[in-house]
Symmetry: C2
């Protein structure tokens, strides 16, 4: 769709800088716009969408939609996210909405299994596990 970026514009630079400053956070397009609006440096919403798309294409930013509801979330994952060195998984509680980050070596087994037995190269950063967190499971 959007493959290559050629120019380093002010907007692109500031967007990347912002994403780098909030590692592990899930940022929406609106978050980005508000941040810059509050800082005096406006960036058009359309531009944010387009630059984020590019960063996703380039593989340095990750996009997910939590539970298929609401706006998409973005997260900077770095230049070598395709190297499975940072296999952080996400669990999302479908009841209370809590998002849990898991950095668990055990789960890497899934990745290996999917690859070896099903020929599927899992991208952990893009995958969200849905279910119930312990609190909500107790309450059910």
């Amino acid at each position: 769709m959007n493959r290559k970026t050629q120019y380093m514009t002010r907007q692109r630079e500031q967007l990347i800088e912002f994403l780098l400053a909030v590692p592990g956070k899930h940022i929406t397009v609106n978050d980005v716009c508000e941040h810059f609006r509050n800082n005096g440096d406006e960036i058009g919403q359309t531009t944010v969408y387009r630059q984020l798309d590019k960063l996703v294409d380039e593989g340095v930013v990750n996009k997910y939609t939590l539970d298929g509801v609401g706006p998409a979330c973005f997260e900077y994952v770095g230049k070598d996210s395709h190297v499975a060195k940072n296999s952080c998984f996400h669990c999302k509680c479908v009841r209370c909405g809590r998002l849990i980050h898991l950095q668990c070596s055990e789960l890497d087994g899934i990745q290996r299994h999917l690859y070896e037995h099903h020929g599927f190269s899992l991208n952990p950063m893009r995958t969200v596990f849905y279910g119930l967190c312990s609190d909500c499971a107790e309450r059910e």
Copy 2:
């Protein structure tokens, strides 16, 4: 939100019948509406949304948004989907869009691990693994 259903209306009956007729398929609200439009039996879009919501609440239908893009998909999973006997997982290729159904007992281990070590009750039916299918991985 919408908890209990009381009435068995024509619309509800036909919707369920339709879902039962396409097991394993991922149906959108639009698919449902079109199907009935072509059959002379119209069902209002709003009603489809509302009945599907109820069926999801009741646990007999499953909802997902593939890759956070486009409309939500629904699939009939039956009355005892909460019993983990039918742990079908889905893998979605982020490149070609292919959707792969996996019925693999090995993957049940994930479920157990998440529960025992992280207190998280995974709902396999709602979870989609993202990554690359073998064809696309080869091409990269």
